[in-house]
Amino acid sequence: MSQHEIALKINGETCTARVPARLTLVDFLRETLNLTGTHTGCEHGVCGACTVLLDGQPVRSCLIFAVQAAGCEVVTVEGLAPDAVGMSVLQDSFCEEHALQCGFCTPGMLLSAHALLQNNSAPSEEDIREAIGGNLCRCTGYKQIVQAIALAAQRLSVANAPTADLPKRP
């Protein structure tokens, strides 16, 4: 069995491990590191439940082998909040809009949405639907997810303005 030493940054912390070549990044996160926030829904690259950020870009972690992530920076849902006790504006907006039910697709959704908001501070509904087009959700019909991402964009733009006062949905 081919084994490889890897070192990478996960949610800001350096980690080293010895992994078999065939171990996917998502299995490494979940089974080796116990970072179970990242989920698998298909393991063949369709559902998006395993979405993480790899060097800032959303990717499907079931389609990458852990060994390939050596030297990279990975962000998972566990690394989205500003600190261990809080939530990001996006996470909070998901709660505000009830943008989830079973929560299984949610981590992948959040990372896709997070990446969108990094690049587009005022996304249209179409931009949002495009950004999460590769994340399947079976519970919500997407409406409250789209609303939550729009709300987060709005809040972030207000937060960046001189007087910060987070809007609530009317």
Binding site: S2, H4, L63, E130, G134
Partner: protein, 291 residues
């Protein structure tokens, strides 16, 4: 759904890649973006002894504008190509095609060369490359050669590349004149594999078509160039009658497959209609001088 055990190599140069590929005695697969290979591995439909990861090779990255062509190196990510100003301005057809490729998450990993070498009959990049008369550069440990795209696709998932060759570069020649492009695709959900897709690039001279390339994919075993349409429509003004004729030719020309998502007959109907729509799109674009 776990891959079979395999050895893993991570060469740092094209030469090293070619050397590894040339080593006989074990089945090797090149791993580029992995967006197709990884599912095949997971389902154990691919069972290589060694996986050669070419993601860390500098020489495989980047897009260059040359005088009469644009060169894209094999491992350039699709998302990077899509956002690239050279691609946007000089290869509008490729840019259109790229927007149909997968999702943002897969384009962030998937590569230009990987898609070509993978030869999925419904892949958009190969389809655009065919309409653009691209040229593939391939290297082995001992030689390198250029393969016209027309000779590249052999059958589903099979290309003209020898087992010890790797695709290094794809070169897109640049058209001159009042260029227009059209790309149309029909799929079931927005990002599903194409049931049929058509790529068109043409040049108009005072409204008359002086050069035309139409390629069609998704419907059969490989993308095909519809040269009969090109011959028929050249030197016309691409009016309704000509478009209808092109649709008929496309409908009749292709050797479509049947599966649960569409019958062969339906694929042919779609192909015919998309051909008309794509040519019209390209014509209108050329007329508007948008190219």
């Amino acid at each position: 759904m776990k891959a079979v055990d395999f050895d893993y190599e991570q060469p740092r140069s094209v030469a090293e890649t070619c050397r590894l590929l040339g080593e006989t005695g074990r089945e090797a697969r090149l791993l580029a973006g992995g967006q197709t290979l990884a599912p095949l591995l997971a389902m154990r439909l691919a069972r290589p002894a060694v996986v050669i990861d070419i993601n860390r090779i500098e020489e495989f990255q980047g897009i260059d504008a040359e005088a009469e062509s644009v060169v894209i190196r094999a491992c350039t990510r699709q998302s990077r190509a899509l956002a690239d100003p050279i691609v946007q301005s000089r290869l509008p057809l490729l840019a259109k095609a790229l927007s149909f490729v997968g999702h943002v998450q897969t384009r962030n990993r998937g590569t230009i060369g990987g898609s070509l070498a993978n030869a999925d009959p419904s892949a958009e990049i190969g389809l655009a490359a065919l309409a653009l008369d691209a040229e593939i550069e391939a290297r082995s440990a001992t030689a390198s050669r250029r393969i016209p795209i027309g000779d590249f696709f052999i059958s589903p998932m099979v290309t003209a590349l020898a087992p010890d060759e790797c695709l290094t570069v794809v070169r897109f020649p640049l058209p001159q004149g009042a260029v227009g492009t059209g790309f149309r695709e029909a799929s079931i959900r927005r990002s599903d594999f194409a049931l049929a897709a058509v790529a068109v690039q043409l040049v108009l001279e005072r409204g008359v078509c002086r050069s035309l390339a139409v390629s069609l994919g998704g419907a059969g075993a490989t993308p095909v160039k519809l040269t009969a349409i090109e011959h028929k429509l050249l030197d016309t003004r691409l009016g309704d009658a000509e478009l209808a004729e092109a649709g008929r030719l496309a409908h009749d020309a292709i050797d479509a497959v049947s599966d649960i998502h569409a019958s062969a007959a339906h694929r042919r109907r779609i192909a015919g209609a998309l051909t008309m729509r794509a040519i019209a799109e390209a014509r209108d674009e050329a007329l508007a001088g948008r190219a």
